[in-house]
Every structure is written in structure tokens, then in C-alpha cells.
Subunit: 303 residues, 2 copies
């Protein structure tokens, strides 16, 4: 049914339902100084889509709760919705409800509902020792974009545009998540807080440890190009890349690789260890330490 | 599955899914000067439950997004959740996810998912000429409670407690909504903005008009007792009573009456008219006008 009733309402044939929600607060999660309304709308929905993607689900219906100051231009609200609608078209999602209320700052709270097939759900708690750790795409560009926007660093136009888009218009791996789940991948998480932080979360939930091979991490080429020595730290801790991290056997990985619409890279392995313990190794096989400076500096802003 | 994954996840046998969301902003929708954290939690969830109730649905899963200032006491957050948990126990709802983020003011955004049986959904758009207009329970006590809290009016302890509870701990008509839907009622709305405002909404959505018999409105006895001449205005426009307003034939109403766990009262009838046009009649059958003073004074704070 269309919008206008007390609740949104739809028929569903699937037996598994998924739901996620996220709130973005002005000057905590974004600033309108560097973010356009359209980008804000895109990013807010992308973050929720990524949560459904990490479970291997099919996103379907979004509820949008907006808190807006009284002096917000109608045009701004239109742009905000356009940013969301661009993404809903890409993934065939319908905005089915929500509300708009007065607020002293901009508050954007989204809830997203989806479905999945029985037996084809990925969770954080299913990683098993012996499995390889794999990521989709390239890492670090979102964190690099944030640093660029916050510090006013200047790059050539193409680099600047790409880093900005990586941070403000991330592409949630919805199709990829469903592909993984269909091929029997059972453990996954999306990279919102940062590779290290999210991998530790997955390991804790699964009661396992991890070895991470730092030189195998697919750092985004533009991040190497523009941030040099800091590039690896941005890939490890920058956050908000919204790539998927998953674990699987080598057999499953080679089957998955054929079907994935994006590159995937093995970056480590799951081991029997103190839950959540992660050890990094350099290209010589020596244990590396996570540079505290990088980690703190680029620490995720959201918990 | 339990909390801890990227999205909440559950099995569902029902074919109709319902979802609603609501955001409450500090000093717009509530003030912590007069509202306890526990009451805030209760009321936020009650408002969402009432939306599902208005559709005749069974509420099942809630997502709670909290924005909190850094100096919020842990105890306050515990109380907030206790307020919600009290209600989840009453209605067998599970809080399955959400997030907590930093914010300069308290922001409470809830999404609630539920189910309904095919063919047993109530909407705002199904009211038909000839049907009677009916409300559950008694009206005006929530608005009276708000006026009392805002103006510092003093009443005897029992009255003060009842009016406060009516405003801050409303009882969503979940069981009643399902009973109505099961008995064939097709048009309903919950009274959140106020009787007049919500009835006009229902009439607009249904393309009909309404006649309201003011002397038949079940004004809450305590509101008569404590607000005298203003009582009827509070019942007409006070808002946030979270009773259900529905329309049905006299036959359906008499069948429903037997099964309802609360009183129901016929207060008017649906007529063929300019959509949304509502006329009020006094006990002598003369057309009455809505006192602008009362209407404006007690206008709903939320749109």
C-alpha cells in the first residue's frame, strides 16, 4: 500500500525478515560545511543498505525519520530525498514511511527492512578457524576522503572527486552480499568502523582470533598515490569503506570469485585464539604492530 | 537471532508485514524537566505500538536508535530502556537492534515492525458514507496532563497522577485494534494529533465528510472534574490520547462491542461530503463551531 497510513504495509513471501536502523546527527556524523544534502541522503541510506548486504539480504523497504531546524530550505529537503531516491532506484528499494519533525539540528534516522532465504544468512558469529579472511573492493579511500575534507588538503581534481565520492557516496555491496550468501559463505560483516575494528568484532562474535597480512590488504590506489606512508593506516582504520569482509574456505572462495561483480582479496586467516585477538604480519612474515598514531588519528567517529 | 549482527533477523509466517517509525526530539516533543527517562521510553514505544494497533496489526520487533549527549548518566539510559521493556513485556515485542550515537540533545528514534492477517488490515482510506464514527476509551486526559505539566496547575494527588500517566504513559490499544480488524472493521486511525485533526485526516484519505456529535464524545471524567468548560476542547484537540477511532456499520459495532476489552462510543457518522469536511453538532442538533481558542491553544505540537 502507498504512504499515508499509520504504518507501512506490504506482502511478503520470504520467511526470513531483516531489519536495521541508523541515526546520523549533524556535527557528530556529518557537517553541512562539507556534505551536500544529496550526499547526506545517499550516505545515510547506503550505510543501512550495507548492513543488510552484510547479512546477504535483499533490502526492500525504508522508513525515513527526519529532524529538521525550522529554517531548513524546502530545496534542501528535496535534495536529501533525491540522494536517497538515487540509491533506492539502484537497488529497487521503496521508501514506505517515516516522519518529519522539528529539531534544533539535522537528525536523519533510517530504518531498512529486507528479506533473506532460509539457510542463506551471513552472521558475525560463524567464522571458523582455518577459514581465509577476504575483503571486497579496495580500502582506505573513504577515510582518505574524510581527512581531505576535514584538513582542506588539495589534490588534482580527479583524485579529489574520487576521494570525496568514496567518503560521501559509498556503494553498498548489496549484490555482492547476496552472491556470497548464495555460494555458502556464512560469516561476514561490513566495514563501517574500519578493517581492524570490524574484524575484531567479527572475531569476538565468532570466538576466534585472526592473522592479518598487512601487505596483502587491497589499499585503494588513489590512497597510495595521495597519502603515501599513511595509506596502509587509512586502509586498516579509516572506516566507512562499506566493503564486505567475509571468511570462507579456499574452495568456497574460488567458486565465489567467478560470480562476484567486484574484486575480492584474501588478506588473512581465522585461527583458534583468544576471541578477538588479532595479529598483524608484514611481507617478511614478521609480526607488525598497529601504529597507535594512525589508529587514534583516524579512529572511527561513531561507536 | 539475538542482537549483535549488522541487521536484526527473524522468521515470519505471516504474509503481511507492517512497519512504522517515529522520532522524538528533546525540547520539541518532550522535556526532561517534566518527563522521567522511564516515561520517555514508555511513551516513545507506545506511540509506535499505537500506529501498528491502528492498522489492526500484531507488533513484534522494535529497533531503537538513541542520540545522547556525552554527559548522560548510564542510569538514565537504563531507565529509558526499562520504560520500553515494561511495554515490550505487555505486548510480547522484542527489541532486536538499533544503535546509540553521540548527539548534543536527546534523540529517540524507534522503528517497529509487525504483521497482520491478509484481509484483516484497517486503513485510513476505507471509511464509507453511512458508517458510524466510534472511539475507544475516554478522551482529553493526555492533553489535560500536558497542560497541567506545562502550566504547573495543582490538583489533588490522585487526579495529578492520573493526568500525568495519561500523558506520559499512554496505553496503546493493540489488543483492541486486532479485535476490530478481526470483526471486519476496515477504517481506523489512532488519536495522536487530536480527535478533530485525526478524524479530518481519515476523512480526507477516504474521500468523505463527517458529522460529529459533541455531547456524545466520551470526555475523560477527570478532565471534566479538573478543567470544567475546557474539557470538551481538550477531548476534541488535546492529542496524544492514543485511543483508536474507527468507522463501521451499526451491525459490526454491536458485534465488536461484545468482544472489546474497553468501552467504545459512537460519536458521529460518515457522510458524503467534500473530503475532509467535518461538521460539529451540539446536543440540540444545532451546528456548533470549534472554538478557535481551544483549538489553537491545545494544538498538537507535532505534525
Amino acid at each position: 500500500m502507498g504512504i499515508g497510513d499509520d504504518a507501512a504495509c506490504w506482502h511478503s513471501d520470504a520467511s526470513i525478515q531483516l531489519a536495521t536502523s541508523d541515526a546520523l546527527i549533524q556535527d557528530v556524523h556529518f557537517t553541512l560545511n562539507t556534505t551536500t544534502w544529496r550526499e547526506l541522503g545517499w550516505k545515510a541510506l547506503a550505510a543501512n543498505l550495507s548492513d543488510i548486504a552484510a547479512m546477504g539480504g535483499l533490502p526492500q523497504y525504508a522508513l525515513v525519520s527526519l529532524g529538521l531546524p525550522g529554517d531548513t530550505e524546502v530545496e534542501s529537503i528535496t535534495e536529501l530525498y533525491q540522494g536517497m531516491v538515487e540509491l533506492t532506484h539502484l537497488f529497487d528499494v521503496a521508501i514506505v514511511g517515516g516522519d518529519v519533525v522539528a529539531a534544533p539540528i539535522v537528525v536523519l534516522s533510517l530504518a531498512l527492512v529486507g528479506t533473506a532465504q532460509t539457510g542463506h544468512i551471513m552472521t558475525r558469529s560463524a567464522a571458523a578457524p582455518g577459514e581465509r579472511i577476504v575483503v571486497t573492493g579496495f580500502l582506505g579511500a573513504s577515510g582518505a576522503g574524510l581527512v581531505m575534507l576535514q584538513s582542506g588538503l588539495e589534490f588534482d581534481k580527479e583524485t579529489a572527486t574520487s576521494l570525496r565520492e568514496a567518503h560521501l557516496k559509498p556503494n553498498p555491496r548489496v549484490v555482492e552480499g547476496q552472491t556470497l550468501a548464495r555460494h555458502g559463505v556464512r560469516a561476514a560483516i561490513d566495514l563501517s568502523d574500519g578493517l581492524v575494528s570490524d574484524l575484531v568484532q567479527l572475531c569476538k562474535a565468532s570466538g576466534v582470533g585472526a592473522r592479518l597480512f598487512v601487505d596483502q590488504i587491497p589499499v585503494h590506489p588513489l590512497v597510495y598515490h595521495s597519502f603515501g606512508d599513511d595509506a596502509t593506516n587509512l586502509a586498516l582504520s579509516g572506516g566507512e569503506d562499506y566493503e564486505l569482509l567475509f571468511t570462507a574456505s579456499t574452495e568456497v572462495i574460488s567458486q565465489v570469485r567467478e560470480s562476484m561483480p567486484c574484486p575480492i582479496t584474501v588478506i588473512g586467516e581465522i585461527v583458534e585464539e583468544e576471541p578477538g585477538r588479532m595479529r598483524l604480519f608484514d611481507k617478511h612474515g614478521n609480526e607488525a604492530t598497529l601504529e597507535k598514531k594512525g589508529w587514534e588519528h583516524f579512529a572511527p567517529r561513531k561507536r
